[in-house]
């Protein structure tokens, strides 16, 4: 069991995370360097290249040492718990390295005066993806219908269920844990399913409305990239919502014993339903990049080197947390990474932040149990 967990963690978490951290700088939009607002031209600067090399070296070395230590101590004590806790520690290596290089980049920017002699502006487009370009929200009817059917089946079957119902299955679909029949045991799965669909629905609305940060030296290209990226992410959200919804429905049908599956089928279904969204996510992230920076747009737009994004470094605390009470926006693209974060200067942002910390803390705590 220990060796299995070790290999599983190594190949599904440690190694992918190492590669992710090393490649991440390549997928960030060209007007940001480790969370610092810069003009695109300085990316070719010798000092910038050295900085990027330094980040990669630091990350590689620190990650390998930390993971090496975790595996060494876990191995000595034959301790699976330490192996799982190690994931949290290993994931923290990236933000720590990032903060270090972020502060260094900030100093370099001030010393080199990259923004001097350039006009700082904010560019926006008045026609953000005129609604028809976005995938229709009606696609959410599919997961909605699946959810309704799951609930209906459960309600119809509920009176006929035995006193002990299956709660947990192993990968081959064999029941490994039974529980007493009751609302929470019979409806736990449909409830999580409903919560998931609502969450994904909210996410896709958020993506459509999130703040658009355009590169003022190439605004037309940047608008196209931004809108294409958003379209892809909304489509992905709908796809993932459907798959997850289907997965929950499948599990629930096994709990209320409407279907009984063979070991092989269950294994394949599990792997496909879990792997499909993850693989799509990876492909999408690689081909899209932050704000669609990896999308090629065919415009022959000249670059206006005099314009640069308004310097907003001061609002990004440690280059991670956006805090700007003057900005009414709630959701904004991450500074370093692909995805969105909240404006902590907005009261709703603070509430969402607190909820996230509680959920994260709880899930970390539960891995240590």
């Amino acid at each position: 069991m220990f060796t299995f967990t070790l290999w599983l963690n190594l190949f599904t978490i440690y190694i992918p995370f190492l590669i992710f951290g090393l490649l991440l700088p390549n997928y960030i939009r060209k007007t940001l360097l480790f969370g610092v607002n810069i003009p695109e031209e300085v990316l070719k600067d010798e000092k910038v290249l050295i900085l990027k090399k330094e980040y990669r070296r630091n990350y590689l070395v620190s990650f390998c040492i930390i993971v090496g230590l975790i595996i060494f101590f876990a191995f000595r004590g034959n301790d699976i718990r330490l192996l799982n806790m190690g994931i949290t520690i290993a994931i923290m290596v990236l933000p720590i390295n990032y903060i270090f290089i972020h502060l260094k980049t900030k100093k370099l920017k001030a010393a080199e005066g990259w923004l001097i002699n350039r006009k700082q502006v904010v560019m926006i487009s008045t026609s953000r993806g005129s609604a028809n370009k976005m995938p229709s929200m009606k696609w959410f009817l599919i997961p909605a219908v699946i959810t309704i059917f799951t609930w209906l089946f459960t309600m119809i079957m509920y009176p006929h269920l035995p006193h002990r119902i299956p709660m947990k299955f192993d990968i081959t679909g064999k029941v490994i844990e039974y529980g007493n029949k009751g609302f929470s045991s019979a409806f736990g799965m449909p409830l999580s399913q409903l919560a998931m669909v609502l969450m994904f629905y909210y996410i896709s609305i958020v993506i459509g409305r999130s703040k658009m940060t355009l590169n003022p030296s190439k605004p037309k290209t940047s608008v196209e990239q931004y809108l294409t990226a958003n379209r892809r992410w909304v489509a992905f959200t709908i796809f993932t919502a459907t798959i997850i919804c289907l997965y929950f429905a499948y599990q629930q049908l096994m709990i209320i014993e409407i279907i009984k599956t063979s070991g092989v089928f269950n294994m394949v279904a599990n792997i496909v339903l879990i792997a499909a969204p993850i693989l799509t996510l990876i492909i999408l992230a690689i081909s899209t990049g932050q704000s669609g920076s990896k999308i090629t747009v065919s415009t022959n737009e000249e670059r206006d080197e005099k314009l640069v994004n308004r310097d907003d470094d001061q609002f990004w605390k440690l280059g991670i947390f956006y805090f700007n009470p003057q900005d009414p926006s709630l959701w904004i693209e991450k500074r370093f990474g692909i995805g969105w974060t909240v404006n902590f200067g907005n009261p709703i942002g603070v509430i969402l932040g607190i909820i996230t910390i509680i959920v994260l803390g709880w899930s970390i705590y539960s891995t240590t149990k």
């Binding site: 560019m123 926006i124 487009s125 026609s127 409305r209 608008v223 308004r310 009414p328």
Partner: protein, 130 residues
């Protein structure tokens, strides 16, 4: 249409947005009946207070450039008829006077000043509305 906002400029932000929207109508970049972002959306995209954008839309509405529907949002006035009023002519003359005064003091020649006005005005002819 793209809007460019300079936070460090002497021109207030609401004025910058308003000027660019009127210019957009004149150049045809903003079509008659075209939708504009909601107050919330524009304020969030630029990163400024709702009131600033509200002021822009209120003024544009009063002057007849846009219409605001409670449901369908803000759009460029579909029956845009910008009339030449006495009041407007007076404001225009006053504004021009200020501009000319400063240009004169800074040593812009009369010909250059003329040329600039000519160029700007011509750039709108045959575009936008009619």
């Amino acid at each position: 249409m793209l809007l460019k906002i300079e936070f460090e400029s002497e021109t207030p932000i609401y004025q910058q947005i308003k000027n660019q929207i009127i210019k957009g109508i004149a150049t045809g970049e903003l079509a008659i009946g075209e939708d504009l972002p909601s107050v919330r959306q524009m304020a969030a995209d630029i990163g400024i207070n709702f009131h600033t954008v509200n002021k822009v839309y209120t003024q544009l509405k009063q002057e007849g450039w846009v219409v605001v529907h409670r449901k369908s949002g803000v759009m460029i006035n579909p029956d845009l008829k910008a009339e030449l009023t006495e009041d407007y002519l007076q404001t225009l003359e006053e504004n021009l006077e200020t501009l000319a005064a400063e240009a004169y003091l800074r040593g812009v020649s009369k010909e250059d000043f003329h040329g600039m006005i000519d160029k700007k005005y011509s750039s709108f002819i045959g575009r936008g509305r009619k």
